[in-house]
Amino acid sequence: MPSLKVKLGLLELESPLLTASGTFGFGEEYAPLMAMEGLGALITKTITLEPRLGNPSPRMVETPAGMLNAIGLQNPGLENFIKIELPRLHSWTVPLIVSIAGETEEEYVTLARALEGQSGIAALELNLSCPNVKKGGILFGMDAALLESLVGMVRAAWSGPLIAKLTPNVTAIEELARAAARGGAQIISAINTLRGMVIDITARRPLLGNLAGGLSGPAIRPVAVKMVYDIYAATSMPVIGVGGIMNTDDALQFVLAGAAAVAVGTANFVEPRTIPRIAAGLREYLAENGLHSLQELVGAAHNSGQRTEDS
């Protein structure tokens, strides 16, 4: 049987299929529905130093082939995470990637240091779609210098594999990927949600309690594929592709564009068995095409001669 094993630098996984942060809870919700078949690693929802209440409701609304959310990083905070969630998460027998975010560099570092002390964490993912309160609220992921320095500080506090999860709301995401590499991240995760808004035409105000939110789902897939393609071309880092993956064909698009692994987000809400289905689909594709490993396909779409121009 063809192998789905992947190596993302030092992070070795049995399968390239991960759960995107914030879309799989802490795992227990899906447990009754999902055989673990095909799951390569679980990325937790983002945790912060202090507990967060989250944003006022409504927190989500459907959009054409997508959804807009503004959960507001509701989470129990570092201490409760370590005490309550982490032991539960260990009952999943797959590697665990913990997503963290802070409002200051120091918060990220404190989180990283505290998690460094915990066993059973395969990697750390930095959610960089967070406003830096000291810099007037600009997101860490929007400024290359800010990003490089943040990653460098976390790098010093965390010895395991470090993933930088980029925001797509930037002019040139490949620059941010390069900055993350310089800072010492070994893996890029792309993309987080696109900024968006829905107006409630009856109330004549933004529909979400938070006014704006993040757009995810199949609607954003072409944007995510392009960004993965650009990051692959610009750096030599392994990339985790995220954004609108609903089925095997979508996952293959990301792999061909340059993703060594992919994370499934919104699709979990629509079809809880998405990951096992894609795992089966990928195996079938490899077998049909006489390939031994998915790794042979990573970035294969770059082998055509033409240049990318803007239309």
Binding site: E29, P32, M246
Partner: protein
């Protein structure tokens, strides 16, 4: 809770824009409780993308039938209304925390609009005579009142209320209920489902009355499973504010803990 493929057994437009849907799925029929809901995949394309939640309105465990009522509002319910007998329907369920009757008689059920669905099921389960269960059911006009007697042949004492007086009492549901209290009705416990403003008024009045009151709330939902935190509703417990998930801790909440 399971993901299952149910089969459409009956689909009928019982009132203009209001549908009765009977699904065959033995597991759901055997396990669903009043207040719980099913999360339905209404299409295989990506628009609409997300599942749609509908309260279970009744079950027949012997025949494996689950009953729903829905109102045709937008794209999702329009697609549902085009289903045909025999079509498969992808369901997650039963989901959510059910009503928890304490057995205090009489139980008074207050239903606004499609809020009737879970309360029909509750009435069915409570069983009992018309002295033990009262059902107040309000809508804008007679044309949007579902023919409840058809689905609940015996059981609660039924009061229709319409805003325009075209059926039953005239006025708001809360007004009709207040009049009944004034005439001497002494509820053991209350269960309510309907538009948020109606529930808010009820909860407000109940701060004086002090009856045990359980309300079923709605919020936009993505996963329906408790994973996305998208369906949050603000609660106040022991003076502390927290968000609870309508799909998990809810949809049924105690009136006093909701921040209205």
């Amino acid at each position: 809770m399971k993901q299952c493929s149910a089969q459409v057994r009956e689909l009928e437009e019982v009132r203009e824009g209001f549908y009765y849907l009977a699904l065959e799925e033995p597991y759901l029929a055997a396990t669903a409780l009043p207040g719980q809901f099913l999360h339905l995949r209404v299409t295989t394309t990506f628009d609409p993308l997300l599942r749609r939640p509908f309260s279970v309105a009744g079950t027949s465990p012997q025949t494996g039938i689950v009953r729903l009522f829905f109102r045709r509002l937008g794209t999702g319910t329009k697609l549902l209304s085009c289903l045909r007998r025999g079509d498969p329907l992808d369901c997650l369920g039963p989901l959510g925390s059910p009503f928890m009757p304490a057995g205090k008689s009489p139980a008074v059920l207050l239903a606004g609009g499609t809020g009737i669905a879970p309360l029909l099921f509750l009435a069915e389960k409570l069983g009992g005579t018309g002295d033990e269960v009262y059902l107040f059911y309000g809508a804008a006009t007679a044309a949007s009142l579902l023919p409840v007697e058809r689905f609940l042949p015996s059981g609660p004492r039924l009061f229709y209320v319409t805003a325009d007086g075209s059926a039953g009492e005239t006025g708001l549901l809360t007004d009709a209920f207040r009049r009944a209290l004034e005439k001497g009705l002494v509820p053991g416990e209350l269960f309510a489902c309907g538009p948020r403003p109606f529930l808010a008024i009820l909860a407000e009045e109940n701060r004086r009355w002090g009856y045990p009151l359980q309300v079923s709330l709605e919020e936009n939902m993505a996963c329906g499973l408790g994973a996305c935190q998208g369906c949050a509703v603000l609660l106040q417990k022991d003076g502390k504010r927290t968000y609870a998930r309508v799909c998990r801790e809810g949809p049924v909440f105690c009136d006093a803990e909701v921040v209205w």
